[in-house]
């Protein structure tokens, strides 16, 4: 099983909802641009996007274009379906990825298109865009 290739999890398990604070992240993803919110006042990053900077309480946000490179902080390998929608895309690998050009934040994402057995904490990864049938684009990562 672990020699299998990590897949993108089934699209059916996720339906995108956005608001004015989270929308820019997903709009950028549609253009294949990785970005996370950066406080325009104190320069600190935060994820997920929220209405206030927890460090200085500013509401001013910048959305810098990131390199798309990252590092695996942790991951899990899902090999069993606990709801039927999961069955067609096993195994898949939910992972936390840290971004060197946005210190202090992690993305909850997936490692895809690599042998599961080669995935390690600390592994360098780069973004791989997954364009869904519903027009939403989700950032995944690969080696």
């Amino acid at each position: 099983m672990t020699s299998d290739t990590a897949k993108v999890p089934a699209e059916e398990i996720f339906e995108l909802i956005t608001d004015q604070w989270t929308g820019p992240y997903w709009d950028a993803a549609r253009r294949h641009v990785l970005t996370v919110p950066k406080c325009a006042s104190c320069g600190k990053f935060r994820m997920p996007p929220t209405p206030f900077c927890p460090h200085c309480l500013s509401q001013e946000i910048e959305w810098p274009e990131l390199s798309g490179g990252g590092t695996i902080y942790s991951y899990t390998v899902v090999t069993r379906a606990i709801i039927p929608q999961m069955e067609t895309t096993l195994p898949y690998v939910p992972a936390l990825v840290e971004l060197p050009d946005a210190p202090g934040v992690r993305l909850v994402t997936n490692i895809v298109d690599v042998p599961v057995s080669e995935i390690k904490v600390g592994q360098a990864v780069k973004v791989r865009w997954h364009d869904r049938r519903d027009g939403v684009t989700v950032p995944c990562f690969t080696f």
């Binding site: 672990t2 999890p9 089934a10 398990i13 996720f14 339906e15 995108l16 909802i17 956005t18 608001d19 604070w21 989270t22 997903w26 935060r46 994820m47 997920p48 927890p54 902080y73 942790s74 991951y75 899990t76 390998v77 899902v78 090999t79 069993r80 606990i82 709801i83 999961m86 895309t89 898949y92 939910p94 992972a95 936390l96 202090g104 934040v105 992690r106 993305l107 909850v108 994402t109 997936n110 904490v121 600390g122 989700v138």
Partner: protein
């Protein structure tokens, strides 16, 4: 004013622990009512004496309970926010209501019936939200997937091993065997553990708690009144709900700074709890630690100061948490891993039994028992019970 030692748990009632779905055709409210009736009977009180309710994880329908059980007057009804982190927090709310004089006899009740949605797929039942989008897309369908991410990091940083998780599963099973309340009765060996399928690597089947149905209720009243009631009073020496921003939404955002990511989120609750009780970890004789996933038992042992951060794996490997020969027997009923899963109320129940001296696996000379609510998003909660 402190609520320390002002109130006591005077009654406990429980339905059987049913394997998932086996409680049907009883309704959830019916199970809750059966637990409440058993708890007031255990206390030597009448159901009409109840004048308050405290819940967590969404709670239950207070006026429904009043109408069907014939409870004439209500002075308090409240629910701790968030999920299974609040079980002990509901006891804290009940204690606050009683200590302040707002109410006199407050019931805390928890229960679950998983016919509609398995808790193992709990997060898949959440309505889509803007914030939830940041974890939902990745296929973190159940809490096991989320806790696997925490477990992997703990292993990477501290060298915690699957053998350590296995020891927790095996210790809980050893505690469950023979306990007439426990669902699991078959011995669990290391070979069984490693032969089990990985459900969310590094977590296998035996790292996950049971999925059971049932309800447990406890009755809180003043420590003074408790002395005149039927049972040995179980005094609430400390009760706490809360946490730190660094843990925050934890599993749902996964952006905790590493110093928090490697914990169960309980460090702050532990510190405040010991301070309120005027106790230290060395004073705790048995710990009932919320065990939805084995790695969170290790993290709680660290957070509550029974060992140092990162040493939880070695601590359990030493046999410390075993009833037989352990220095800190943990989850003496078999826990949620092997006895029954009632969203943390099982831990309150077992801590009460240990203080009363009536537990199936009774620890000798128990003065203080710790019971915790589930590591999850804030608030987290815990109580220290004693004579």
């Amino acid at each position: 004013m402190s609520i320390a030692r002002k109130t006591a748990l005077v009654g406990v009632g429980s339905t059987p622990y049913y394997k998932r779905g086996k409680s049907l055709p009883q309704t959830m409210n019916e199970l809750v009512c059966k637990a409440i009736l058993a708890a007031v009977d255990d206390a030597g009180l009448l159901v009409g004496d109840i004048d308050g309710f405290a819940y967590y994880s969404g709670g239950f329908d207070t006026p429904y309970l009043m109408e069907t059980l014939g409870i004439p007057e209500l002075r308090f009804s409240a629910t701790v926010t968030a999920t299974g982190g609040g079980s002990a927090g509901a006891v804290q709310m009940a204690a606050m209501a009683v200590a302040s004089g707002v109410a006199k006899t407050v019931v805390v009740v928890g229960g679950n019936q998983q016919a509609a949605l398995r808790f193992g797929a709990f997060t898949s039942g959440y309505a889509p939200s803007a914030e939830g989008a940041f974890f939902a897309a990745s296929g973190l369908v159940g809490p096991g997937h989320m806790f696997a991410l925490l477990a992997r990091r703990h292993m990477h940083v501290y060298g915690t091993k699957r053998e350590h998780f296995a020891e927790i599963a095996m210790a809980m099973r050893a505690h469950a065997i023979g306990n007439p309340n426990a669902v699991m009765q078959k011995p669990l060996t290391l070979d069984d553990y490693f032969a089990a399928p990985l459900i969310a690597d590094p977590l296998c089947l035996y790292d996950f708690c049971l999925e059971t149905d049932g309800a447990i209720a406890v009755v809180v009243t003043s420590a003074a009144r408790a002395r005149d009631l039927k049972q040995v009073p179980v005094v609430i020496h400390a009760a706490m709900q809360g946490g730190e921003r660094g843990w925050g939404r934890s599993l749902y955002w996964m952006n905790m700074p590493e110093e928090h990511f490697l914990t169960s989120g309980h460090r702050f609750v532990a510190r405040e709890l010991y301070r309120m009780a005027g106790l230290t970890p060395a004073d705790i004789d048995t710990a009932q630690l919320y065990d939805h996933f084995t790695p969170m038992v290790i993290a709680q042992l660290e957070d509550y100061g029974f060992c140092r951060p990162g040493e939880g794996g070695e601590y359990v490997a030493s046999g410390a948490i075993r009833y037989e020969g352990g220095s800190l027997p943990v989850n003496t009923d078999g826990g949620q891993l092997s006895c029954g899963y009632i969203w943390g109320m099982t831990h309150i129940r077992e801590a009460m039994e240990q203080i009363r001296g009536t537990a199936f696996r009774q620890v000798q000379n128990v003065n203080f028992a710790l019971a915790t609510g589930g590591p999850s998003n804030l608030p987290l909660s815990a109580v220290i019970l004693g004579k």
